[in-house]
């Protein structure tokens, strides 16, 4: 993206909530919208005398993430205390990792991973102030159910160069982690959180500009919009001769605006020091091997397979491999297919289905839509067998997305079946030739292109229910 000679430089900071059975440092279960404070204990409430204990599964899941991101796993890593006061932080410090994290120097797609580490999540605060907003006065209620949930924090290098790229890469990360089975990675639910560090610099410049941090973008679309807005804002400032001030900006989904979270008079001094209550983590050969071997087929490998074995185009393969919902949808459709080739199903899914869903304005999960994978597979079959034209197929798909149902029934009820009766078609062709006599002359005269008008006339009369290739052949014959 060229923002008037400036290039955006974007890095992402991602928090992944792990789907372990218990919290990071105590045996409380994880909760999903339960009553407040029913999944707590003296440890995760920070009662005096309590001590943390490290969840074995969290280590395993973190090692799997590190393997999937091709990171170097530290032979020895330790936990640190990150100290600050806030009601959602029961101990007055978060147990996290600082300069000796679990994993460093990885890569996913085109983006390098700076580091990945483990930490515990904060509790939830509900503001019940008069204005109900974080800036109002009044009270807050703290629910510690979420407090202590294991998190893996992943920080990328600032390798991303556009808001769209950020969105795509974040989707790739999500697909990758989802396939590991270590997290629900759902942005709307908060099991995947993505913040962005954004700066801009003159194209070709080597130095980095001042960066700002963007928070509260809880969908891929908002991520893209938020970054777009910030890049524009920074460009505006620089062009106006002003400087970028390092700040944290809160994204407002209602209108896409960004407001600075006013930094406190005193800066955040986290006073990190090694956590004395926990001993170092030194992953053994066995732990590392287990992590590597438990990796499923990851997106890049899957894309390869789709191209070489299924014969998909690189674009279709990328969509299906890098966006897990489409991939899953595709696999289900192929499984249900009764005659349609994987390739044609793939084309329908990555082409018309994606386009149709986008039209409805959302990030709709194709698996949530009314058009089931089985239905789309059947549709692909009907078109491939030339029972309906591609154009009719599009119509059927729109119906499926809007109302669901069965393609064969829709074809029946809307009379979309391709005209296969040749005598009927011949009659229509003859009429078209007669109606477009000028074009007919031109074609007879050698101007092949003019046949388009005749084809168009046939299509109009048949309401697109004829196969284009067959029509063209027939016209030529009858001329």
């Amino acid at each position: 993206m060229n923002a008037n000679g400036y290039e955006p430089v974007i890095g992402l900071e991602i928090h992944v909530q792990l789907s372990t059975k218990t919290k990071m440092f105590c045996g409380c279960g994880l909760s999903f919208g339960d009553e407040p404070n029913v999944h707590t204990c003296p440890v995760c409430l920070g009662h005096p005398g309590t001590l943390p204990t490290v969840n074995e599964q969290a280590i395993r899941y973190a090692l799997m993430i590190a393997a999937a991101l091709e990171c170097d796993v530290a032979p020895r890593s330790i936990f640190h205390r990150k100290n600050y006061f806030y009601p959602d932080l029961p101990k007055g410090y978060q147990i996290s990792q600082y300069d000796e994290p679990l994993a460093v120097n990885g890569r996913l797609g085109d983006v390098r991973i700076h580091r990945a580490h483990l930490e515990e999540d904060a509790a939830k605060m509900i503001h019940v102030g008069e204005s109900g907003r974080i800036h109002g006065s009044g009270a807050s209620l703290v629910d510690f159910n979420r407090g202590g949930t294991p998190l893996v924090e992943i920080v990328t290098e600032p390798d991303i160069r556009s808001p769209g790229e950020a969105r795509e890469w974040a989707q790739l990360l999500r697909t990758t982690i989802r396939q590991l089975g270590v997290s629900d990675v759902n942005m709307e639910e908060g099991s995947l959180r993505v913040d962005a560090n954004v700066s801009i610099r003159p194209e070709g410049a080597g130095e980095l500009g001042t960066k700002t941090e963007l928070k509260n973008m809880n969908s891929f679309r908002f991520l893209e919009r938020g970054i777009e807005a910030e890049v524009a804002r920074q460009r505006g400032l620089l062009e106006g001769g002003e400087k970028i001030v390092q700040d944290t900006l809160h994204f407002h989904p209602e209108d896409g605006s960004l407001t600075p979270l006013r930094s406190k008079e005193y800066a955040h001094d986290y006073r990190y020091f090694p956590e004395p209550d926990l001993v170092p983590v030194a992953p053994t050969e066995q732990m590392l091997t287990e992590a590597r071997e438990s990796l499923p087929e990851l997106p890049a490998a899957r894309r390869e397979r789709y191209v070489s074995e299924v014969g998909l185009s690189k674009e279709a393969a990328t969509t299906l491999a890098f966006q897990s919902e489409y991939g899953e949808y595709f696999e289900r459709a192929v499984g249900a297919a009764d005659g349609a080739s994987a390739k044609s199903i793939a084309n329908w899914v990555t082409g018309e289905l994606v386009a149709t869903l986008r039209q409805t304005g959302g990030e709709e999960d194709p698996l949530d839509s009314k058009a089931t994978p089985e239905a789309v597979a059947a549709l692909a079959g009907l078109v491939e067998e030339k029972k309906i034209s591609h154009g009719s197929g599009k119509q059927v798909l729109e119906r499926l997305v809007a109302e669901g149902g069965d393609p064969a029934e829709i074809v029946e009820s809307e009379g979309l079946a391709q005209i296969s009766d040749s005598s009927e078609l011949e009659a229509i062709v003859d009429r078209a030739i007669e109606a477009e006599s000028e074009a007919a002359e031109q074609v007879r005269g050698g101007n092949e292109r003019a046949i388009g008008r005749i084809v168009g006339a046939v299509m109009k009369e048949t309401k697109g229910r004829a196969d284009g290739g067959a029509v063209t052949r027939l016209i030529k014959e009858r001329l």
């Binding site: 005398g49 001094d269 006073r271």
Partner: protein, 480 residues
């Protein structure tokens, strides 16, 4: 009858109870009566019922428990206003293990607030007095535990030692106090002061009782990732001579050390001679970095404490000073809930960790710690034990050092290095000495330290020495 019962050591009482000559109830009643006459302010809470049950090596024994240990349903204050009335929802592992061994909690012992102090003058619930002289301090921070045992309000007690808080009050009260190897006893349920230094240990009338208690306390605990227990447990001490054992006297803690009172030095030297008479070999050793122990300790301990005490914020339990403003609530709650010494150490610790100062203070202190540990390792290549006076002085007067925090900190000069190295050390009463200035003769403690996990060996050597010293017939405390 009561007097006689109270005169028994815990081991003696346990034997009698096991033999059926004494019931747990009778024993408890004797102590309950004694506790009623507590003029030392040693207890913050006493039990109404015996609470000791079942079998086990401590069946029927009553233990004074420093108020830093969480006891389920029983007030636990850590000597602070900020936890006034707080009843924990669970009991510390150390307390559970004592109960599992058959013992009961006789009472919660007074202490310096959050274990910060060397005189028990920092308690929000009033100072504890030394049974030897009511105008003097019992030492701290386990002052209540030590005074209870020395004052015959309890046969035995448990306390915590971070930089000397068991050993120093034991020395000042003329009883036995031991800090085991770091990791020997679980810290789960022990309100944290400095996590990498805190250890639970016994305060008793004699070495046999100390071994009995430590045997029941030690062990790996899944609730405490830093606990390992002691391999092989604790053997009952039986040693009679010190033949073949090598004792090192570090120049820095005994010979050259400043601030050691003449009376203390005299008792120390006499005890060293006694070791030789018992067959032990004594010679000088070096702990070159020991003189920097106080400096390192008073960076590391307050730093960890500043984080450990951040949870006392009025949100979920304990004192809250209400306000419409959150920052105000935090600041007022903590200002009113914490005493001066606690505030001082929180400030010190926060400063040492703060941006720009971490390397100069915390970073360096951690390196000094490494050097001190190395010094001990080196000494233990040639010696089985390292010995020193436990405290540079005998018990000082109430109010004498409260105006000078640094002077107070220097009381820990001889005990802090062992804490930093994580190695075990015991203090046994070795004699009496006159303080500088005037006053009655007061107890002097003798410290024996050994390599990590040599706890049994230390108890064994201390046992032999204790017999030879014959301090109060091993019955602890001032003459009854």
């Amino acid at each position: 009858m009561s007097d006689e019962l109270i005169g028994l050591t815990a081991s003696q009482a346990a034997d009698r109870i096991r033999a059926g000559d004494l019931t747990g109830e009778e024993y408890f009643d004797a102590y309950r009566e004694a506790a009623a006459g507590d003029s030392l302010n040693a207890f913050l809470w006493t039990a109404d019922e015996a609470g000791a049950s079942g079998d086990g090596p401590l069946a029927g024994i009553q233990i004074a428990v420093k108020d830093i240990f969480c006891t389920e349903g029983v007030p636990t204050t850590a000597g602070s206003r900020i936890l006034e009335g707080y009843r924990p929802p669970y009991s510390a592992t150390a307390v559970r293990r004592l109960r599992d061994a058959g013992a009961g909690v006789l009472g919660k012992a007074n202490m310096d607030e959050f274990a910060m102090g060397s005189s028990n003058e920092n308690s929000a619930y009033g100072p504890v007095l030394n049974p030897w002289d009511a105008e003097r301090v019992p030492g701290g921070s386990s002052g209540g535990s030590a005074a209870a045992v020395a004052g015959r309000l309890a046969a035995c007690a448990i306390g915590t030692d971070t930089g000397g808080s068991i050993r120093q009050p034991a020395a000042l009260c003329g009883i036995v106090g031991m800090k085991p190897t770091y990791g020997a006893v679980s810290r789960y349920g022990m309100i944290a002061f400095a996590s990498s230094l805190d250890q639970c240990g016994p305060l008793t009338r004699d070495v046999t009782d100390a071994a009995l208690l430590l045997g029941a306390l030690q062990g790996e605990d899944p609730c405490d990732s830093t606990s390992v227990g002691i391999d092989g447990g604790i053997e009952p001490p039986i040693r009679e001579s010190l033949d073949g054992l090598r004792f090192g006297v570090p120049r820095e803690l005994a010979g050259d050390a400043e601030g050691i009172e003449p009376g203390v030095r005299e008792v120390f030297e006499r005890t060293v001679e006694l070791i030789e008479e018992l067959g032990g070999k004594v010679s000088e050793t070096h702990l070159p970095h020991a003189p920097h122990g106080i400096s390192a300790y008073y960076v590391l301990a307050p730093a960890e404490a500043s984080a450990n005490l951040a949870r006392f914020d009025g949100v979920r339990y304990g004192l809250r000073v209400s306000s419409e403003d959150l920052t105000d609530m935090y600041e007022e709650t903590r200002a009113q809930g914490f005493g001066d010494e606690v505030k001082r150490r929180i400030m010190l610790g926060t400063y040492a960790l703060s941006s720009g100062y971490y390397e100069a203070y915390y970073g360096r202190a951690q390196r000094v710690r490494t050097k001190i540990a190395e010094d001990f390792s080196k000494a233990f290549e040639s010696f089985d034990f390292v010995v020193s006076p436990t405290s540079p002085t005998v018990a000082f007067k109430l109010g004498e050092r409260t105006g000078d925090p640094l002077a107070m900190y220097l009381s820990d000069y001889c005990t802090v290095p062992m804490s930093l190295a994580g190695i075990p050390a015991i203090s046994i009463p070795a004699g009496l000495a006159k303080p500088e200035g005037e006053g009655p003769e007061l107890p002097v403690g003798f410290q024996i330290a050994g390599p990590a996990f040599s706890d049994s060996a230390i108890l064994d050597a201390a046992f032999a020495l204790e017999r030879a010293i014959g301090f109060g017939q091993g019955n602890g405390g001032p003459p009854a």
